[in-house]
């Protein structure tokens, strides 16, 4: 039972990471596509939107890591072994994104220097969600299997992630984060860039939808356990109907310029994606290889970690509220 709660913490933290940190990556992607007469203004808005908060948002990923390695050490070890390559690329992306962004903010504002840092920031912002999604896709497809003879990964270090399904999930994650960022930015923009972000949001949202269907189709063969559960459980029909309605609602709200509604529905879509994945994957932490219960650390450990999470969460809330009130006050808390 304790393992279930620790697993829930992982998925809640992942959801928050997607909603907050994911949008920061999406902001970097939109920075790459900042074009047209208002390109500079778009970049300015992106910088303004993510500058004060991206580092705090990024900590959700640290929480995910620490909870996995403390509460599910066997899973952490196998993820680190089997997904060594995509995770290394993810790290390169995380480093480039953070450094590119900060250097762009603090270096001289000459155009060519600014563009060089922007490129680093944007490249990192594309690579990170791509590799994060690919890693998730590899876990969900159940190919991180251990070879009983050697104790190493049965399928080697490349094929488990370098396959159509995981890569599609990577591309889907990238599109989803970009869509989310574009929708957030439509609310924060107060000029013509609102239209720019609206169009980009519609494109990214449509792409995300198409990639979701492609992922489902590929997953039937490549990720039978998770996709089977996603399509064949008692909750499948209500879940998919709701998700589809929310997705179309989000796109419709964006198309008709109801930006605040679009923001709620797009965020709801992200929550549904992570929740659907988590539910379909349960009880596996690594599909077809290791369950949450089998990977779980002793109860004494999980109990302490959950106590820290609860105490930390309670004490952090006022600080988070303060931060968002100061920087997003006009758009989040009074909206």
């Amino acid at each position: 039972m304790l393992a279930f709660f620790a697993g829930a913490v992982v998925f809640v933290a992942l959801t928050l990471y997607a909603l907050l940190g994911g949008a920061d990556f999406g902001g970097g992607v939109l920075d790459l596509f900042a074009t047209g007469p208002r390109a500079a203004r778009q970049r300015e808005l992106i910088t303004h939107a993510i500058g004060p908060i991206w580092e705090a948002n990024h900590v959700w990923m640290i929480v995910v890591l620490v909870v996995i390695w403390t509460c599910f050490p066997a899973a952490y070890a196998r993820i680190g072994t089997g997904l060594h390559i995509p995770i290394t690329l993810l790290l390169v992306g995380i480093v480039c994104r953070g450094v590119g962004f900060v250097f762009r903010s603090y270096d001289t504002q000459r155009d060519e220097v600014h563009q060089r840092w922007s490129l680093l920031f944007a490249a990192g912002s594309v690579l990170s969600p791509l590799m994060l999604g690919t890693s998730v896709g590899a876990i969900a497809s159940g190919r991180l299997l251990t070879d009983p003879a050697t104790g190493g990964p049965r399928d080697g270090f490349i094929t488990p992630w370098f396959s159509p399904f995981p890569l599609t999930i990577g591309a889907f994650t990238l599109a989803l984060f970009t869509w989310l960022a574009a929708v957030y930015l439509t609310v924060e923009a107060d000029d013509h860039t609102q239209e720019d972000f609206r169009r980009r949001g519609l494109v990214a949202g449509t792409l995300a939808g198409a990639l979701a269907f492609l992922g489902l189709a590929l997953g039937l063969r490549e990720a039978p356990t998770v996709i089977g559960s996603l399509l064949g459980s008692w909750w499948s029909i209500p879940f998919h109907v709701t998700t589809l309605l929310v997705a179309f609602g989000a796109l419709a709200a964006l198309a008709t310029r109801r930006y605040r509604v679009a923001r709620v529905l797009t965020a709801g879509q992200v929550v549904a994606v992570v929740a659907g994945w988590g539910t379909a994957q349960y009880p596996w932490i690594l599909v077809d290889e290791l369950t949450f219960d089998a990977a779980a650390a002793p109860d004494a450990v999980i109990r302490v970690v959950l106590a820290v999470i609860v105490a930390g969460g309670v004490s952090l809330t006022p600080a988070f509220v303060w931060m968002y009130r100061v920087f997003k006050g006009g758009t989040v808390l009074q909206g």
Partner: protein, 438 residues
């Protein structure tokens, strides 16, 4: 390149890189908060301008520290999966706490950096104090986890080496935790104050009457005096603890071969690991026994009483240890001579020779941090968890580890150079006097 060596090199490189940005990220908030507070108190806008400049430096180093720290969290699993499978649950508690300290730090820093005109003065200063406290707490938790690797506690092993019970709190309160944490926190203040001092001393040499750099030197010197004076005290505590808990590490640090009472303290020299002697060292009789056990007649374990397979690389640890002490003594001399000059003249020391020395000794604190870290980490070898798990048994089965090593080396070298250039740029142009109030 052998995979184990590649993995160790990548880990060493990542830690050596990250530790510099962590110490800067831990100590810089103190500087910016003190400057801002002095600005409020005296009404002198120069202090406030200083706080703003230092805040920019903090922002850059914090970001680089945050991303390289994220990389490290992953690298633990990428390079040492068997270590993490064993140790993750046992030393996860301080990391969980660190996660929350890091959250507070990031939130308060966001408010501090972007909130100059958005939150009231007092709240802004409070956010800065929050950055400093949570940054120090973060550092303390990470060092606690590292101390566990040196002196593992809080678990029991079954007959086949499997973990049978875990007490995460006892693991966190392991024997090395307190002394390591104190030494590391003091080291961050001492090393960073020297780096800050050097930058502003260099500027003051060029513009001797610039009030901005005078104030900066004054504040940095104050922190340097306190920080460098804490180093021998906390270092002594750490040494005593290691004498009891990790005799092999102490023996390697001192290149001490024979178990004997009245053990001498060796300065310099080169340990010959084949012949099991140290040549060319300066020998201070009985000092090691006194320092390690507080009694000249107390025997100090020598390397010959430690099986060859369990000895750390002696030469590296000994040289790093002596380098650390030399840097520490240099810092004491520079800081206290500066304090003496300030007391004699009743003003910020502007003596050209002292400023020149302060400029050139800027990196010694950071060198000492790297050297001390080498003593801790290399001195723990061949174990990744002392006495329980060998580093060689913890490495990933993934082949071709030269590739990620190359990736990280290129990335960190480029990043290190860029960051230093970026930091220098923040201070190269001193503001006009009096600085405009923004």
């Amino acid at each position: 390149m052998e995979d184990l060596l590649a993995a160790r090199t990548q880990m060493a490189l990542s830690l050596a890189f990250h530790i510099l940005f962590s110490v800067v990220g831990m100590a810089m908030p103190l500087f910016m908060v003190l400057a801002e507070w002095l600005g409020h108190r005296t009404g002198d806008p120069t202090w406030t301008e200083l706080a703003r400049r230092w805040a920019k430096g903090t922002a850059i180093t914090f970001a680089v520290g945050a991303v390289s720290g994220t990389a490290l969290s992953f690298e633990l699993g990428l390079l040492w999966p068997r270590f993490m499978e064993f140790a993750g649950p046992i030393f996860g508690l301080p990391f969980s706490l660190e996660g929350f300290a890091f959250f507070f730090e990031a939130i308060f820093l966001g408010i501090y950096l972007y909130g100059w005109n958005r939150v009231p003065h007092r709240a802004h200063l409070a956010a800065g104090i929050g950055v400093f406290i949570s940054g120090m707490a973060s550092g303390a938790f990470v060092v606690t986890a590292n101390a566990w690797m040196n002196t593992p506690a809080g678990f029991t092993l079954g007959p086949d080496g499997e973990v049978t019970s875990i007490d995460p709190v006892a693991a966190m309160l392991n024997p090395n935790a307190l002394s390591s944490v104190l030494h590391m926190l003091a080291a961050s203040l001492a090393s960073v104050s020297f780096a800050v001092l050097a930058i502003h001393a260099a500027m003051l040499r060029r513009e001797p009457h610039n009030d901005f750099h005078r104030k900066a030197v004054a504040l940095a010197l104050g922190v340097a005096v306190v920080g460098s004076s804490l180093m021998p005290l906390t270092g002594h505590l750490a040494g005593e603890t290691i004498a009891h808990t990790q005799p092999a590490k102490l023996a390697a640090a001192e290149a001490h071969w024979e178990t004997e009472p009245y053990a001498g303290f060796l300065i310099g020299g080169w340990p010959d690991e084949e012949a099991e002697v140290t040549r060319g060292a300066l020998h201070v009789p009985a000092l090691l026994s006194v320092l390690a056990h507080g009694d000249p007649a107390a025997p100090v374990t020598g390397l010959k009483d430690i099986p060859k397979a369990d000895r750390p690389p002696v030469a590296v640890v000994h040289v790093a240890f002596d380098l650390m002490i030399a840097c520490g003594l240099t810092m004491l001399a520079v800081a206290w001579s500066g304090a003496w000059l300030a007391w004699r003249h009743g003003a910020v020391p502007t003596h050209p020779l002292w400023l020149r020395i302060a400029t050139f000794t800027g990196p010694v604190g950071l060198v000492a941090v790297e050297a001390g870290w080498t003593v801790t980490e290399v001195g723990r070898q061949p174990w990744i968890v002392t006495g329980v798990l060998r580093t060689a048994d913890a490495v990933t089965p993934m082949p071709g580890l030269w590739a990620p090593l190359l990736t990280f080396t290129v990335m960190y070298v480029v990043l290190g150079v860029l960051t230093v250039l970026m930091l220098l740029r923040q201070f190269r142009h001193s503001p006009a006097q009096p600085p405009e109030v923004r």
